[in-house]
Amino acid sequence: MSSLDLRTYSGLFTSYTELRVHENRNTNITFVKGNNTGNSRSVTGGVSARVYQNGSWGFSSSPDLGDHMVRSVVKVATDNAAFLDTRVNKGKGALPPTPASSHADFSTAKTRLTQRELVDFVKEIDGHIVEQYPSLSSRTIVLNCTDMEKTLLTSDGSYSHSLVPRSLIYVLLTVHKDGQPVDLYEVFGGRGQFEDVFSAPACLYEGIARQYQHLTNKADGVFASAGVKTCVLDAELAGILAHEAIGHTTEADIVMGGSVAGALLEKEVASPLVTLVDFAHTALGSTCPVPVYVDDEGTPAQDAVIIDRGILKTFLHNKESAVHYGVSPTGNARAYLFSDEPLIRMRNTAILPGTSRLEDMIASVDDGYYLIKPGNGQADSTSEFMFAVTLGYEIKGGKLGRAIKDTTISGVAYNMLKTVSMVSDDMKWMCSGMCGKKQPIPVGMGGPAIKCITSIGGR
């Protein structure tokens, strides 16, 4: 990324201003049924400025990092803020200064692999799958690596630089059963550049073997019985629940837009077994999947304990919402592209582990489901949620039974979390997802397994 020294432009700031140089770099390699259908690299980057004037914001961006364009985006953003201010005249006061300094670079110290070596890596995995699992009717392998690098200067004295990469390999396996296709995906990888995350193709083979066994079970699976059931949600589903059904309702802009959470602060919204945190960068002694040390408004990022032993404690804030609610900003303002303005976003949202063993949780269910792998998920400002479930099993008499076909669970999160009766003592993070809210953004989600009562779709 450009080594432009943003501090040389601070003299152009006439009002609260953020000046950001931001570059996203992406590598994608795809094999569909042995065909190398994708092999590409992309770089998207540039400079942006955002200016605040009496409650109105102006923003401008350009991919050109030349001196004249940096000056131009600051001027256009300043003019835009003035244009809006003269028309809406909100007369709001200044934003709280949050000076901070940070440098976080997660790039690898190892020699980078060439594109050919990456293609060969994926091809070797594809060859292994063909050799080991001849009954598959199709397989798709996608390698996706993203580096997000930002340098930020704000008029209240924050200066930060971050490079946060993530490297993922998606494996989708398909079988045909009675002429109908059945599939199951798995994601490998996480935070870090490829060389730090994947050492050899063989490191994936144990996971792929488990995936294949689950797929075989799913091909013989049954429809879930639609209705309200006792379920054990494994870590990945608990993570998406924390993010979608609770986290979004506590984003302060959503609260201002009418989220049900607005009336629930300091009230009991979950079982006392549930503590839910949006971690900034470090959780339980380890670096999170998507660490944020200083956000895109220059605010030092802090953990936000959303639910503490069942009680709703806080919302997620940027500077403007913090002023509105009379609290300190939490460092949740994040932008995806150089051309995007920062929005209130989650970072690493997780339910904290409890004390139960997963085996005991399953054994305690007489008639229900053990749900393992989520697909997509959505939630409402009412906290009504829906998550696709792509892998799960019946529980009958405390024992796992038949696999189930793809299904969906739903409910009202602030009601459902009150039914949580057991929380497992382990924890798993996911960082393959992109959260959508005007802009996409990488997020971390995590959790233990939880036992709860929820609606499940089926026949």
Partner: protein, 431 residues
């Protein structure tokens, strides 16, 4: 080398000089002017400029792609070298190719520049209309933007297309509140060539805002039954999306499409006719050039229930041995039926008017389940009450065949024109 046409030509020549047997270059310059509303108030004016340089090189049937958003000479040279290097690292595939020679064309649609004062006027007018007509509405987020793009597509077979396009987009996300109760959020958007009309009269916005106000008090439905769905135009995309994905490259090449041998066969009720019309005057936010460099044309995908075309790219066509589509899909237009929406509701004994589907991606065989959001229970031909915590499940492929009526009314979103569609045989379950 500031002229974009010259830059695209330079990049194409450089790819060939660097060793590509065949090459293509897409250069897009865009500017966006966007007014944003947060929590019911104008909050942000955003002006962004961007460039997209997308290069493709073929060398001995190996394909490489590289893209970036800078077009200065150094960046172009770097992208060219990277693109050829990626091609050399790829696996050879004889299906890789670029579009054949076509006559040079220049396409133009929409305005050249935004009318910022008019944008501000229309947005303020919309906010005032919402405050007046729908006082319960909570406008969480909205934007009105004008996006202008200039695109240049050239390839080594002599393809040379230039497109100039300007279009306004509007998007709103909202809920409603009454006596402390909040409705589920809903959202909609539309595109328009100009700002001649009040925004509230565009797309389905007025209807959805009215419904949102009705949905502050909802009831879960009791029990489970198999009944009818009337799918609103805002919700129809989920059903069509399954069909579209199933006839596109990935599903066809991987062999997982349930429609892979269905060309010319009935895949839906004879009531359904689906077109993709990216170059039609009735679509203001279409496109003129396909991703692989062919001049786009409108086409009929499903005619009276019969599958008339797959949506295969040039590569997908060569991999499967089936015909290349004349467009990339989208710009959907569904033919109207002969039944009014009112009569469609009257004909339902028990079912749901489904305005938003919050569900998982369907299985590749079409099985789906999800929550009916912003939806209503229909009983004995009348809309009974707005629902909460109600799940619907079924199979999209079966649903397409079980269409019982299509409305004579349609909603024009600028980027699609869609009716209400009634289907039978869906499992509906409440508490």
């Amino acid at each position: 080398m500031q002229d974009p046409r010259q830059t695209a030509g330079y990049a194409l020549d450089a790819l060939l000089k660097a060793g590509a047997d065949k090459a293509q270059c897409l250069l897009v310059q865009s500017d966006k002017h966007e007014m944003n509303v947060d929590s019911g108030e104008l909050s942000l004016l955003r002006t962004t400029f961007d460039t997209r340089l997308a290069l493709t090189a073929l060398q001995a049937h190996r394909k490489g792609s590289s893209s970036g958003n800078k077009s200065d000479p150094e960046s172009v040279d770097r992208a060219v070298a990277e693109c050829v290097s990626i091609a050399q690292a790829s696996q050879p595939d004889e299906a890789n190719d670029i579009a054949g020679a076509q006559p040079r064309e220049v396409f133009t649609t929409g305005a050249d520049a935004p009318d910022l004062d008019r944008m501000h006027f229309r947005l303020q007018e919309l906010l005032e209309a919402i405050r007046t007509r729908y006082p319960k509405a909570l406008l969480r987020q909205a934007f009105l933007d004008f996006t202008r793009t200039k695109s240049y597509f050239v390839n080594s077979n002599g393809v040379d297309f230039e497109t100039h396009k300007g279009v306004y987009h509007c998007f709103l996300m909202f809920s409603s509140r009454e006596n402390g109760k909040v409705s589920s959020f809903n959202y909609t958007g539309f595109a328009t060539r100009d700002l001649d009309r009040e925004l509230i009269s565009c797309g389905s916005l007025d209807t959805l805002l009215r419904q949102s106000g009705e949905q502050t008090t909802t009831r879960p439905m009791q029990g489970k039954f198999v009944g009818d769905l009337i799918i609103t135009p805002d919700c129809l995309g989920d059903t069509l999306g399954f069909l579209v994905r199933s006839i596109s490259d990935f599903a066809m090449i991987s062999g997982t499409s349930i429609y892979k041998d269905s060309l010319g066969q009935e895949v839906a009720s004879p009531r359904l006719t689906l077109h993709s019309r990216p170059v039609s005057d009735e679509i203001c936010d279409g496109y003129f050039v396909t991703a692989d460099g062919h001049a786009a044309a409108s086409s009929t995908i499903v005619e009276e229930g019969v599958l008339k075309s797959f949506l295969l790219s040039l590569y997908g066509s060569r991999k499967t041995g089936k015909a290349r589509a004349v467009n990339d899909g989208s710009a959907w237009v569904v033919d109207p039926g002969s039944t009014s929406l009112e009569d469609m509701v009257k004909s339902v004994k028990r079912g749901v008017l489904m305005a938003r589907f919050s569900g998982g991606s369907p299985s590749i065989n079409g099985d789906f389940s999800g929550v009916a959001k912003n939806s209503y229970l229909i009983e004995d031909g009348r809309i009974a009450y707005p629902l909460s915590e109600t799940m619907v499940s079924g199979n999209f492929a079966e649903m397409l065949k079980s269409i019982t009526a299509i409305s004579s009314e349609r909603v024009d979103y600028g980027e699609a024109i869609l009716p209400w569609v009634a289907v039978s045989g869906v499992t509906i379950s409440g508490k």
